[in-house]
């Protein structure tokens, strides 16, 4: 189980770093702070599930300012003038969708076929997020001055 978790964690780390670089020209890296960072305001929470030989879920937490920055980079539009909140949410969903696809390839290879759920973005209180990011399956990325916690949980495996 510990090895599985480590492999999943590494695959998630690689997927997030490569997808943010390729889709949003944004460099992120993993940090391992002694004290977990805290959100003062409710961040954006993106979530997706997958099913196949294994099933599970992935999620991202980010402040609205980071989400808007990533969306403007993905779409190639001016963040301050042309970006609607709906576009930000849609961009974050697509980002997580692509991260999930990359994660599955990195973790399980090219052969098993998985079905991805529809990505969802929904609010989660700052308090709930601050509890979530102390969990064992959390990776904390940094992008500039912003943090980007991410989690992956592989729930089950069939033979």
């Amino acid at each position: 189980m510990a090895v599985d978790n480590l492999l999943s964690s590494r695959a998630m780390e690689n997927a997030v770093i490569s997808v943010l670089n390729d889709m949003a020209a944004t460099r992120v890296w993993v940090i391992r702070p002694e004290d977990p960072p805290r959100f003062d305001q409710a961040p954006m929470h993106a979530h997706i599930t997958f099913e196949g030989p294994s099933s599970g879920e992935l999620g991202l937490l980010m402040e609205n300012s980071l989400a808007a920055d990533l969306a403007s980079r993905i779409l190639g539009v001016d963040e301050s003038r042309d970006l609607l909140q709906e576009m930000v949410v849609d961009a974050v969903k697509e980002l997580l969708n692509v991260i999930c696809g990359q994660f599955l390839t990195q973790r399980f290879g090219y052969e098993p076929a998985f079905t991805l759920g529809v990505p969802r973005v929904f609010p989660l209180s700052a308090q709930a997020c601050n509890v979530l990011i102390t969990g064992p399956s959390i990776l904390i990325f940094q992008s500039g001055d912003s943090i980007l916690p991410a989690y992956v949980r592989v729930k089950s495996r069939t033979a």
Partner: protein, 126 residues
């Protein structure tokens, strides 16, 4: 001759990025239609003379695999070139889609150059 292109994806972001890439590709485009799932795509394909389809796999209502199967079973739609654009990396699914007539497969995230190249290969054979 200018092409009519249909983009099938439930993400408005992907549609916007694909439209931008197509616009910058230099391809002779008459118009670009869009649909959010396979069912909407079939409606458009039956009312418009579409020359090229870009389709995602994971979509609600009717997914990309079901769309490809429906087009393969319909003599009027069977010959329309399809390019899949998906996060899905499964080799077996890719081979199945190609057996159903899919002409090319682009993995997300894609670059504008990949779109330009694949359009040229599929539509012009080079």
């Amino acid at each position: 001759m200018k092409w009519k292109i249909l983009i099938v994806d439930d993400s408005n972001v992907v549609k916007a990025v694909l439209m931008k890439a197509l616009g910058e590709s230099g391809a002779p485009i008459q118009s670009v239609f869009d649909a959010s799932n396979g069912k909407e795509a079939l409606d458009t394909l039956r009312t418009e003379s579409i020359d090229l389809v870009f389709a995602d796999i994971n979509m609600p209502v009717m997914n990309g695999v079901e769309l490809v199967e429906s087009m393969a079973d319909d003599p009027a739609l069977k010959g329309i070139p399809i390019i899949m654009v998906s996060t899905d990396g499964s080799v077996s699914r890719k081979e199945y889609l190609q057996s159903k007539g899919v002409r090319a497969y682009v993995r997300k995230p894609f670059t504008p150059e990949q779109i330009r190249t694949v359009v040229r290969e599929v539509m012009l054979g080079r």
